[in-house]
Amino acid sequence: MFDQRIIQAYKQAPWRVQLQWIGALLLVLVVGMLIAGVYLYLSAEATAAGTHIRELELEREDLQIRIADLSTQLAFLRSASFMQGRAETLGYKNASQGDIVYIPVPGYSGRQVIFLAPPPGNDPVDASIIKPAYKESLWEWLYQGTFDLIESRGVKP
């Protein structure tokens, strides 16, 4: 009888137990929803970024075509026959030997052949457009972060 009284004294009221259960379930539900929300948000962001990257890549291709086209159009406008025609329209004529006065310029070695690109050896840094942060997993990020931290403190792993 005494034992039963002690048990009864420490026993939760049934409505409290139910409330605890409901609370626990709600907590699980809220946490689950939070995780799902974060997951959905990140997925949506990643999808938007991926789509944007694809659009930018297509735009880059279009721009490359446009640049090539504009260079060629410019070359048409600067072609020998076109320039000759323009010069004649403006009243110019081809110079003959008698029209030219030569003046010695010390150190001048004449017109140099065009350099349209640097000579070999000056390698530009190979920069990827998409940064690694956009492609690495959580585990890779943690591992790399830890490794960088150890490296910066000079501790051998």
Binding site: D69, A75, F76, Q97, I100, P118, K135
Partner: protein, 590 residues
């Protein structure tokens, strides 16, 4: 109560078993080989895109960076029939803007409704950008327009246009014989044809790359940046090339020749500064090739048309005679007007006897008899050794597709006769291309050093410019021989007051008139008229080779080709900024 509980437990167990069985079956089906195969197929079909990225074809520039061959934007226009909303608008706009057949386009546009055709169909290609801009304007107009109350709204839905590049030559006909052309209408197997486009096709084309791109936007993958094909920087000077082409065209018209060829080279490096040939050809309209170059004609006569050069060849004979010691400039030859070589008689061009002549006189009057005599003085072994050393009968190796060569007949060959020694000495019975001749004679203008002729000065690959160094083929004659011959040929032009002379500049040169062999022997009525000259004589910076094929105004090189040389050099000195000799010598003094 117990009975109810046990029933409920039993039902629960049954549901559990059924549930587990369903889960087991789901896992089993999803991991079955068939499922894996199907997933793989679907992934390949819908989850990824396989693209072959064709790099932009490399550009071609002249030595100063002027674009000679580039690429221009054009469009492929197609119809996706299932997406078409208003077939009338599609047919109307495509026919009015692109000039396509209205009924044909309408049939394609309605093919999904009428036949269930889902296939995308290309209706036009190589459409210029300005026409596509008109389509874009129409599209924008329809999007802004209010929808009609009755019937389908005007719409270009289902019409697609995709940009791509097309080979383009901004200078049109300029240097077309050097560039060759690219058959851009063949988008699958297009390749460079003739000239540089063929010679450097692989370099210009670059390497096509096949990439697999995921369609899932969350699986980000960078499209690899495919480097464009290599670009070429030529030794050609656009200004000199334009002048040479203009003069060649005029010379052909004035002389009534079948064709005109002008080559300009830097003898110190072997760099071709200009290579002009007629007829003119626009590689932007390469489909007209057959009209301009009927079968049997040559695209670039400078490298592919062999001809008997005639007296310009005497420069090589005299170089060999002087270098071998068979004669000196002062050696006197008494010209009787005829000489017997190999049992046959050789005469001068005028059948005259010119009496005592030194070697300068022999060159000045272009005496066949004298030159045949110098060849006999050398003997066939020495003569042909020199001629071979000058590269006759061999490819020069110029970096252009289509170079031709005619084998040199040598003593011991079936088609060599003793008379050949005499006739070869003045450039008959031997065939060469203009580029072979200029390469060989340039050695005389370059201290006896023969340089490899070339038109590519540098190329750009993966963002770097690689220069191509001039290549010495060999030392053909001694420097003092080269200087002596240059002096002799300068004097000979001055002595005869040649029309090849250029005011203010001392030049060396030689005319050439060659009869043309036909089926029945040499035809005296038609000739090949040539001139080769270089200058300034004390420090040559250029060598010019002129060839007029079958001129009708006069058969003589001294009449039709020599003035062309003078005209070319007059423009060349301005374009190359070469001061007159007096100014140059004055400037050189400290």
């Amino acid at each position: 109560m117990n009975s109810t509980n046990s029933r409920l437990r039993f039902i629960g167990v049954i549901f559990l078993i059924v549930g587990l069985a369903i889960i087991f079956q789901i896992v089993r089906v999803q991991n079955s080989p068939q499922a894996k195969e199907m997933i793989s197929y679907l992934e390949k079909t819908y989850n990824q895109e396989v693209r072959v990225i064709k790099p932009e074809r490399g550009n071609i520039y002249d030595r100063w960076g002027n674009l000679l061959a580039g690429n221009t934007e054009v469009y492929e226009v197609g119809i996706a029939p299932p997406q078409v909303i208003n077939s009338d608008t599609v047919a109307q706009d495509l026919s009015s803007i692109l000039g396509l057949d209205f009924s044909e386009i309408k049939k394609i546009a309605r093919s999904y409704i009428e036949e269930g055709n889902e296939q995308y169909m290309v209706v036009a290609d190589f459409v210029p950008a300005d026409k596509v801009h008109l389509l874009e304007n129409k599209l924008a107009e329809y999007e802004k327009a209010d929808k009609p109350k009755k019937g389908a709204a005007p719409s270009l839905n289902g019409v697609h246009w995709v940009a791509h590049l097309r080979r383009s030559y901004p200078e049109n006909t300029l240097a077309a014989n050097i560039l060759g052309f690219y058959n851009y209408y063949d988008r699958v197997d297009g390749r460079g044809i003739l000239g540089l486009e063929e010679q450097y096709n692989n370099l210009l084309a670059g390497t096509a790359t096949r990439v697999v791109l995921p369609m899932n936007p969350t699986a980000i993958q960078e499209i690899p940046s495919v480097p464009p094909g290599s670009s070429l920087i030529l030794t050609i000077d656009r200004g000199i090339q334009a002048a040479a082409e203009r003069i060649a065209q005029k010379a052909q018209e004035d002389s009534g020749a079948e064709s005109a060829t002008i080559l300009v080279m830097d003898p110190e490096t072997g760099e071709m500064l200009a290579m002009a040939t007629t007829p003119a050809f626009n590689p932007n309209e390469y489909q007209k090739y057959g009209e301009i170059f009927p079968q049997g004609s040559h695209y670039n006569r400078a490298i592919s048309q062999l001809y008997e050069p005639g007296s310009v060849f005497k420069v090589l004979t005299m170089a060999a005679a002087l270098d071998s010691g068979a004669v000196t400039p002062e050696t006197t030859f008494v010209d009787t007007g005829a000489i017997e070589v190999g049992g046959l008689w050789i005469y001068n061009w005028d059948r005259g006897a010119w009496g005592p002549q030194d070697m300068t006189g022999c060159m000045q009057h272009s005496l066949n008899v004298c030159l045949a005599w110098t060849a006999t003085e050398m003997g066939p072994t020495t003569f042909y050794n020199y001629i071979q050393t000058f590269g006759l009968g061999k490819y020069t190796g110029i970096d252009l597709a289509g170079e031709q060569v005619y084998p040199l007949s040598l003593p011991g060959d079936q088609n060599w006769y003793p008379i050949n020694l005499g006739t070869n000495a003045f450039g008959q019975g031997v065939a060469a291309t203009p580029v072979q001749m200029i390469t060989a004679i340039a050695a005389v203008a370059n201290d006896g050093k023969m340089m490899a002729p070339h038109v590519v000065k540098a190329y750009i690959q993966d963002g770097h410019q690689y220069d191509i160094s001039p290549r010495l083929i060999r030392q053909v004659i001694k420097p003092e021989t080269a200087h002596a011959l240059t002096e002799m040929l300068a004097n000979s032009l001055e002595n005869e007051a040649s029309v090849a002379l250029v005011e203010g500049y001392r030049v060396s040169g030689k005319t050439g008139t060659a009869e043309i062999p036909g089926p029945g022997g040499y035809e005296s009525s038609v000739t090949n008229a040539s001139f080769v000259g270089w200058g300034p004589s004390d420090d040559p910076k250029f060598i010019v080779y002129i060839w007029l094929e079958k001129p009708t105004s006069s058969p003589w090189g001294s009449v039709v080709a020599a003035p062309v040389f003078s005209e070319v050099v007059s423009e060349l000195t301005v374009l190359m900024k070469l001061p007159p000799d007096s100014v140059r010598q004055q400037m050189a003094q400290p």
